[in-house]
């Protein structure tokens, strides 16, 4: 069943339950279907994806603004874009940012908006580790992990809102993503996290970096006690770093032994 069809189905069921009758049902359903920011369950257009991601990014930045350091932000964009160029979506307009929070975390929004907290950035030792963290988030974007959970969780809600005519064109994205940047604190399936880790090490290695940048960060983060507030959200929404490392160990095995990647500790930009 396509997204449109599913919404129509929901709409029809809602309507028949409420015994609505005083308006043109066919026209109403066509309007409802057109108001949706997606043409089918299989996916949104790239344009819609960016519009959704932009809204989420703006909401996240409302909670934690960019660190006021232009050189830092430019540096992170240079590193991130090169890693993203190694993916199957090299031409997406990728945006990267370091945000003001002591929490240790990183976030991805659809359409290529990626953020690392200052708290996590300060734990990094070199450019390969930064590349690894960004590459994990890039993995979420290219696999559309967040977009998929939006589609699954909001469909019913959206269907009922459309039919009660409480939605207009401008509101549709807000209705889809929920309150603020809540969506970025949603847990993904742990398979999705392991997948993003595997993509992360591969993209890092493709860009010429030491493939073990991401594993090194996971080892470092694994030191944090779960009681430490700075990792509460990260540990709640991701499998424990030890489990992620164990999965990576199985997946990587000796495949990266012959690759001589760079760590670039000297070029790594330190926050002043």
């Amino acid at each position: 069943m396509t997204f449109k069809n599913r919404v129509l189905y929901i709409a029809i069921s809602t309507l028949s339950l409420s015994c609505a009758q005083a308006f043109d049902l066919g026209q109403e359903l066509r309007n409802a279907a057109q108001a949706l920011p997606g043409s089918g369950l299989s996916g949104y257009s790239a344009q819609e994806e960016v519009a959704i991601g932009r809204q989420i990014a703006g909401n996240l930045l409302g909670a934690a603004p960019l660190v006021a350091d232009k050189k830092l932000q430019k540096y992170v964009n240079n590193v991130g874009r090169q890693v993203a160029s190694m993916s199957e979506r090299p031409d997406l307009a990728w945006h990267f940012g370091v945000i003001e929070s002591d929490d240790i975390n990183a976030f991805a929004a659809p359409g290529g908006y990626i953020f690392v907290t200052r708290g996590l950035y300060l734990r990094l030792n070199n450019e390969a580790e930064l590349a690894g963290v960004l590459a994990h988030e890039i993995g979420h974007v290219i696999k559309k992990h967040h977009l998929n959970i939006l589609q699954q969780s909001k469909m019913l809600d959206l269907g009922s809102q459309l039919i009660s005519r409480q939605i207009d064109g401008n509101e549709k994205i807000t209705k889809l993503i929920g309150s603020g940047a809540e969506i970025v604190s949603r847990s993904l399936d742990k398979k999705a996290e392991f997948e993003a880790d595997r993509i992360g090490v591969v993209l890092t290695a493709r860009a010429g970096y030491d493939a073990y940048g991401l594993p090194a960060v996971l080892q470092e983060i694994g030191h944090n006690s779960p009681d430490d507030n700075s990792v509460t959200l990260l540990f709640k929404t991701h499998p424990h770093p030890d489990a992620r490392l164990a999965q990576l160990s199985l997946a990587m095995d000796d495949r990266f032994d012959k690759l001589q990647g760079l760590t670039l500790a000297k070029r790594f930009y330190r926050i002043k």
Binding site: A57, G58, N59, L60, L61, G62, A63, A64, L66, Q73, N77, N78, G80, R81, Q82, S85, D91, A93, W94, H95, F96, G97, I99, S101, D102, N105, R118, L122, L124, S179, G180, A181, S185, F194, E195, R198, V202, R206, A207, G208, Y209, A211, P215, A216, G222, H223, S230, T232, L233, L245, Q247, S249, L250, A251, D257, L259, L262, T263, L264, R267
Partner: protein, 163 residues
């Protein structure tokens, strides 16, 4: 460069490598060099304790009761050295010292679910982050400056025993 920063950098290099222990999470071989085809020095069962001397890519140089050598980093679970004094020093020297800790004293800025949920859209900030965007060509140039060479690497299949 300020003397304090130099001191912190010295501490960082000294302790980041010397302040950690590890336990093998699976049986692995201790090797003479950081390569998979290097000579095997000893076989370590899962649960072996090691002291980490040095890190090099995917390999750690370690000291074990069977001697010193190289182990795959992913065969180890790393722990900070126990003892409050040393772990305090080690955490001071992991890069948080010069920056993170000082920031923390001025007020910890978290990012929890409630804050994320209550977040209000900030157009100015989105425009700002978009203004920092690098083009593919720009990023390639930046990579070239550091002699980063892109490589052909296949995606990894999910491990059979994985979830």
């Amino acid at each position: 460069m300020k003397p304090q920063i130099i001191l912190i950098m010295l501490l960082t290099s000294a302790f980041a490598q010397a302040g950690e222990n590890g336990t093998t999470i699976k049986a692995d071989r201790l090797r003479a060099a950081p390569f998979s085809d290097a000579a095997t020095l000893a076989a370590l069962p899962a649960g072996s304790r090691v002291e980490i001397l040095k890190k090099e890519g995917g390999w750690f140089q370690v000291k074990t009761i069977k001697g010193s050598g190289w182990l795959r980093m992913l065969s180890l679970r790393v722990t900070k050295k126990t003892g409050s004094e040393l772990s305090g020093l080690a955490s001071l020297a992991t890069g948080r010292a010069g920056t993170g800790k000082i920031v923390s004293t001025t007020g910890i800025r978290g990012l929890n679910e409630e804050q994320l949920k209550a977040a209000k859209y900030d157009e100015q900030q989105v425009t700002l982050v978009e203004s920092y965007t690098s083009s593919r060509a720009e990023a390639q140039k930046f990579a070239n400056l550091a002699k980063l060479k892109s490589k052909q690497v296949d995606y990894l299949p999910a491990p059979a025993s994985g979830d």
